[in-house]
Amino acid sequence: MYSYKAKKFSVTFAVLYCIAISGEAFASPKSYLERSNINERIEYAISLNSIASTLMNWYGSLLTTNNLQAGNRNFNNTNIRFSSKNHSREEHRSTYPEQITGIQITNADLKKQDLPGQYQFEVEVLITFMQSKKYQTKVINEVFLFQISDSSRPEIRKITRLSSKPENDTTDSNPASAFQHEYYKSREIAYAWLAYMDGANSMGSQINIDHWLDSANYSVKIGSFELDERLVYSLQKRNQHLGKGGHLLRSVTANKIEGKPNHFELDLIIDWKGTTSDGKPSLAKINQLIQYKLQDDGSLMVLAINEKHLLPDMEPWQKLLC
């Protein structure tokens, strides 16, 4: 169905509804894993991850501050880039309900456009909001037009509302309580980090990387190849060992670290496909545990990353024991 030689490509995240509920990430589409050209794969991975991070930042920023937990007061300090002063964050924000208490992405479809670096992300979201002291819901379909510059930092060219359908039911409890700031913040961080690892240096500012690149510890275990150094050194050695390729997030779980306010741990499962330094195709299933602190100003401080490579999922029988 998909051919990268064609200028347009489409990746349908048909399972995103289930994904959003279960804590999974945007799926690694089969077409990505089958893509043979390494540079195309890297471009695709960077585009998807940097756009997904921006989208998570955007939806996280729409949630009302009333839901914020102590210490996470500045989640809404979005640094999303809009391409035109005529299309400001405030203008777009005004098209959504005011008191949003939960946002659930139920479908998404990324399409590359004819113009270089231009992507369209069609998204369906279920928005829960307070009105007349009752929780109400609304299904919104909208299209984000993204432009990725040479530095791979996406900016939103346009947001077009396709439809907005209020649902009739109202409730006293929040039906989207799982889809709040922490949910979006964790995914914003995860996608930006993956884009950064693949070479999108500009995505580093999204995750405040200058503040922790030189201080966080990064331990890596790839078979008998092991590293345990400051992130800035480990990352370089790890990427040299691994070779060229693209990371795609398969699942993400965010957990609070007990006894430490505003400390969290992201548990990521990542698919990587690329080539080694001698040009051989290579596959990895990566587990990363990222420990971080959200500081009072809302900025991110990563403390440690632990990475280990697992057995890639290839055959249904490989986990069998006899």
Binding site: K221, S282, I286, K308, P312, W317, K319, L320, L321
Partner: protein, 212 residues
């Protein structure tokens, strides 16, 4: 004569086309690595000593009544279909998950039942655990330690024990994977006895023919 040459040329061309289209096996990042073990000659070896050989590695134990004989029978069949020259480039390794019972001598006698070229790996529990961990292989005891008399186990070969003493073992379950490892020690494929023989042989030949 000319017709024979034409047929041979066509066959060679087809072989080249087929090889060109054979998909290169990917390196499975983080699966495998260097380790030490005791081989069936009682020598401590490093896995790096198999550099420049294509390796087929599986896990099991000599008192396994189920999958191990089946896996080793399958590997015997695969190995026998390789030419003597190809066999020179291939090593079949069997790493025990029960190093306490599987001494080098016993492991050697067990493997010789299948093929005398097959090499067993044993060692300390720590060494065996490390090999399993590097390859993400799993195993666990399914009986109390040394609680099952081996006379009740359907075995390939009996272990020599002092007369008058009963021979007892632990039963395990374990991963069934066969790891195909290239000449640089990198895992390139994970297979099992359900992999069609021709398919695994084709993969082995691909790795034999790779430039070291």
């Amino acid at each position: 004569m000319l017709k024979k040459m034409q047929i041979l040329s066509l066959a060679s061309l087809l072989a080249v086309v087929t090889m060109t289209h054979a998909e290169e096996l990917p390196i499975l990042s983080g699966v495998g690595g260097n380790f030490t073990a005791i081989d069936t000659d009682g020598q401590e070896i490093e896995f790096t000593s198999f550099k420049d050989k294509v390796v087929l590695l599986s896990f099991g134990y000599t008192n396994c009544a189920d999958i191990c004989p089946f896996t080793l029978g399958y590997l015997k069949m695969i190995y026998s279909k390789l030419s003597p020259e190809e066999q020179q480039h291939v090593r079949v390794l069997f790493s025990t998950v029960d190093p306490e019972y599987d001494t080098p001598e016993h492991l050697k006698a067990f493997l010789a039942y299948f093929n005398k070229d097959f090499i067993g790996l044993t060692g300390s529990q720590e060494q065996v655990d490390k090999i399993a961990s590097l390859f993400h292989a799993e195993y666990q005891a399914i009986s109390a330690p040394k609680s099952v008399e081996t006379k009740h186990v359907r075995r390939i070969n009996e272990k020599e024990v002092e007369s008058g003493k009963s021979d007892k073992t632990t039963l395990f379950n374990h991963s069934i994977m066969i790891y195909l490892i290239d000449q640089q020690g990198r895992t390139r494929s994970v297979d099992y006895t359900g992999t069609p023989g021709d398919e695994l042989i084709s993969k082995i030949r691909q790795l034999i023919n790779e430039q070291a």
